[in-house]
Symmetry: C2
Subunit: 297 residues, 2 copies
């Protein structure tokens, strides 16, 4: 053992990420991602796949698809990227922006009028909420709906998508009902203070590492907006998978979060490899560290 | 307002990251980072600065300095990088590793014998613990000591550095007392299950974004070890700042976490810009999202 200590050390810390193997989940533990909800964002680093959750924000999902289909984002950029917080994409500021082109800004709002906020939604029979099984600092209850991390308040009768790493949302102005075209994706420790303050309606299912490569802004300079346009990483194209010929489009499956297989995944994470863990961790999960398995077919 | 909606949207989400400006902290709100505790890791993406916390793990801090001063890490790599989890550096596996060179592994352990774990430490008068002021899912109490995020259990009389994004630690084998040379840095949502299971003894104070650019492994393939050595991002050099001529070395200051200025920072984060937040977030903080200000002189 001593002779391979360094190798085993590598192996062992891995166990911290991924507990011992369990039985293969049965085929019905997986659901297909609807290609009409699958958004593909291409940058020079690679393709990031986002699943939209229209059940939580139908108008925002519809707007996103319309923007994509009008090629709105193609050739724009991630113009505000704050390490440990968000990558924000769209028109942005600077020469290409509405700041220096007030007329275009008016035209833009005519074409893409501000949306009514969809910060949360009523509970309903169409939502299968699977509780995580432990408390949370920020919400009365947390769990999953169809693979999305969700907060729930049964007293208020509301549910919402939680801001975890990978959560996809629309940015907005002051005032709740002001989102038009700009989006952001969380790339750092879950900024839960944004929950129910912005319309979150999707999550990255693949390619998070490419967003992590995006050039960063500085929070102290123009709140993270990268003023030097040449330093912004471009958005090559954004597509809805259903617009790609079926044979060419990527296909994903997400583990059903109401399944026994997902319950087993959570249990594994709560009881990680005993041969490595000197001290058993507290038997609780961070809702943003109960990763929902995804596979590309 | 409508005319600049997109710009303001940019601005507003920024506020979510950084609340309204408060009075400038007085000079004594800052402490200098001791250059003997400042570790500089160079990769092709840029320099990452880590502050060591010898008060929590004196033997590991000493080992780290000794490894650096023997140029152990220079020319090695980040050979295991898991998106959302850790970047692990050192000898690693593959052609350059001990797996294929068992004799070298024995020699290595002679030179760098396994360390006794320093997962936590007794409470003591040398630790100024400033409570965060709210509960936590994983520890009886959380707060800060000299800028480091710390868990405390007064019943057991122990304190430990928490695994937040940027936490610096030594990897190990099965068995607590097995760390030798390999280190990791957390690059994702706080993996709190590792708390008190590994020796955490530092944190990134600058250059986190460069670690985020590191090439990733795949958790399903060799637990994230990048088997193709050509795809690993190299460690150009690791230095202790005190070994660099004083005029050339970078100098940092960290806000004193026992100061009124830091108390004000936490309060700002709990009460973010009311002009933007439609709903006041729950008045609690994630210990890993109560960022301790750092400035480079």
């Amino acid at each position: 053992m001593k002779r391979t200590c360094v190798n085993i050390a590598v192996f062992c810390l891995a166990f911290a990420a991924r507990a011992a193997d369990a039985p293969e989940p049965p085929p019905d533990a997986w659901r297909d991602v609807d290609p009409n909800n699958l958004v593909l964002i291409d940058t020079k680093y690679g393709e990031t796949a986002v699943e939209l959750a229209p059940a939580f924000a139908p108008k925002h999902a519809e707007r996103m698809r319309a923007l994509i289909r009008s090629h709105f984002y193609d050739g724009l950029s991630f113009y505000r990227v704050l390490d440990g917080f968000v990558a924000q994409g769209g028109i942005g500021e600077g020469p290409a922006s509405t700041r220096d082109h007030p007329k275009e800004a008016v035209d833009l709002e005519k074409k893409w009028p501000p949306l009514k906020a969809e910060f949360d939604r009523p509970l309903g029979s169409d939502l299968t909420f699977t509780p995580l099984g432990n408390g949370d600092l920020f919400a009365p209850e947390v769990g999953h709906v169809d693979g999305f991390p969700v907060g729930r308040d049964t007293k208020e009768g509301r549910a919402w998508i939680i801001h975890c790493p990978g959560t996809f949302a629309f940015a907005r102005d002051n005032g709740g009902d002001t989102a038009t075209t700009e989006f952001y994706i969380v790339i750092g420790e879950a900024p839960r203070r944004l929950d129910r303050n912005l319309t979150a309606f999707g999550r990255v299912v693949d390619g998070m590492q490419y967003l992590q490569k995006l050039n960063r802004g500085d929070v102290k300079v123009d709140n993270g907006v990268i003023d030097d346009v040449s330093k912004r990483d471009g958005i090559i194209t954004v597509r809805v998978a259903s617009d790609i010929p079926e044979k060419e489009r990527p296909k994903y499956q997400v583990m059903r979060t109401a399944s026994g297989s997902f319950a087993a995944e959570k249990e594994k994470r709560k009881n990680p490899a005993p041969e490595f863990y000197v001290r058993r961790p507290p038997p609780v999960l961070d809702i943003c560290l109960a990763p929902v398995p995804v596979r590309r077919l």
